[in-house]
Amino acid sequence: MANLWTITWRELKAYFASPIAYVVSALFLATVGFLFALILLNGREASLRGVFSNMNFLLLLVAPAITMRLLAEEQRMGTIELLLTAPVHDWQVVVGKFLGSVILFATMLLGPTLYYVLLIGLMGKPDYGPILTGYIGIFLLGASFLAIGVFASALTQNQIVAYFIGIAILIMLWIADAGSAISGTGNLIGSALSYLAITKHFTDFFRGVVSLTDVIYAFSVIAVALFLATQLLQTRRWR
């Protein structure tokens, strides 16, 4: 556990030492803030449902930017040799870095949006249930995206390549649903594709419903992505 935290802590410090964390969170918050204002002024509804749905798409662009550096840069700079020859397991390196990105996401991206809750609470009578589950949902969605980003970062030494691979995988998962239109919905492929479709699993959260399937889905995506990233790290040793 101490090893894991050591890696997470270093990663967090690295985030705040580079402009990327500030740039990404500023862009994210500016866009989300603009959308929040727009939705609020047009809808005049004390809820964050619209905002959550929009964050959804923004995170597809933002999450790979947060994770692109994590393993790609270590491989490019050779610092991976320090980590992989230290008395640390490979999975601890991967999970430690993932946790670093999750903490950054929670504090720098999600954290500041909490004042929206305050605002609509002051101006109206919001139903706090869906807001809470919405936050749980968007957090799980973000974490899933970040895990996929970590996997993409393990694939290459180049951050930019890692970013685009991350986006490509996320878009595939995003539109997997549409594939079932081709394969038909009744069959195995159709239902597999529609299960894979990532955003479908998070719309319920925004309406105030936490379903076990969706939570399991999020944790499965995270586990599979991080497992594959660890395997990739290990295969580097065999090459």
């Binding site: 410090k13 700079m77 040799e81 320090l82 020859t85 230290a86 040793r237 090459r239």
Partner: protein
């Protein structure tokens, strides 16, 4: 051959990258407290061997043990005991020297980190740079931070891949002295392609070429072994055409070659010093000896001879 003093043991190590052999059948031992030098041209397999010993990559065949633990099956135990400086120094440029060493110490589970970091910084002479960002340091300082990282947890075994590369002559001497001072308590393997480095720091040398060990001995004995005979350089005031034939009559002399107008190179049996006999002969004949000295083969020559011999033997296969 298991005994209490063997710290590192490599048995028939082999490594393939695709179809290319990076290492074949490498076997060696390092005793506790010894400094072993890996010498070889770039791409000979030095880094590969070190990466196997540190658990960075597994061998394709063969096995290795460090402090009694298998590098593959007990990798974590081995890594706890090793300090490693990879060829490309693994530095995080955005961190300060202190933070970086603190990170390295935490990774290795060091208890009293402040003391350990201060000690490592003192040994590598970087104490005054503690708060500087690594990215802003000169190449020499970066290299020393890399070494500090390798010794911060006071490991039993130190594996240093090209530790003095990129340093200026003064820093090279400092680092060599540091490495020498670590011997005894620590077992050290260092690799280099610079020959004086091994002759000055190492107690034993292992010459690797093309993935194979071509020689293993102390610097002095390696030189002697390759030579096969002693050589004496002779310079006289009065050169005469009969000098070579006259000297060849001296017992133990194998041959004489003229090296210019008044200089000769005399080859004698290994271990036999014939200088007194030759001097007596020269005085008797009135040649007027200006200079007479034994010629020792430099490690450069040893190295070239061994590695080129290996190449021609390999071509013949």
């Amino acid at each position: 051959m298991e005994n209490g003093n063997v710290m590192i043991q490599a048995q028939n190590l082999a490594k393939m990258y695709g179809n290319a052999h990076a290492l074949r059948d490498v076997t060696f031992e390092v005793q506790k407290g010894e400094i072993l030098g890996f010498l070889g041209p770039n791409g000979a397999g030095k880094t590969t061997t070190m990466r196997i010993l540190t658990g960075f990559m597994p061998p394709s065949a063969g096995s290795a043990r460090v402090a009694g633990f298998d590098v593959f099956t007990d990798s974590i135990e081995v890594r706890k005991r090793i300090g490693y400086l990879p060829e490309s120094v693994p530095l995080y440029y955005e961190m300060s020297v202190w933070d970086y060493l603190d990170f390295a110490a935490r990774l290795r589970g060091v208890k009293d980190r402040d003391t350990a970091i201060e000690r490592a910084m003192e040994m590598t002479n970087i104490s005054e740079r503690a708060d500087q960002l690594i990215g802003k340091l000169s190449k020499g300082y970066k290299q020393r931070v890399g070494i500090a990282q390798a010794i911060v947890h006071n490991p039993e075994v130190l594996i240093l891949d090209e530790p003095t590369i990129g340093l200026d002559p003064k820093q090279i001497i400092e680092i060599r002295n540091l490495i020498k001072s670590l011997a005894g308590d620590h077992t050290v393997i260092l690799s280099t392609h610079i020959l004086p480095e091994v002759s000055q720091t190492c107690s034993r040398i292992l010459i690797i070429n093309d993935g194979k060990i071509v020689a293993e001995d102390t610097p002095e004995r390696l030189t002697a072994r390759v030579r096969g005979a002693e050589h004496i350089h002779l310079q006289v005031a009065q050169p005469a055409p009969e000098i070579p034939t006259e000297i060849e009559k001296v017992q133990g002399v194998l041959g004489v070659t003229a090296k210019g107008d008044n200089e000769y190179e005399i080859e004698t049996n290994l271990g036999a010093d014939r200088r007194a006999d030759i001097a007596a002969l020269a005085v008797q004949r009135g040649w007027g000896v200006l200079e007479m000295r034994p010629v020792s083969m430099s490690l450069e020559e040893v190295f070239l001879k061994l590695t080129t011999e290996e190449k021609s033997a390999g071509d013949g296969e």
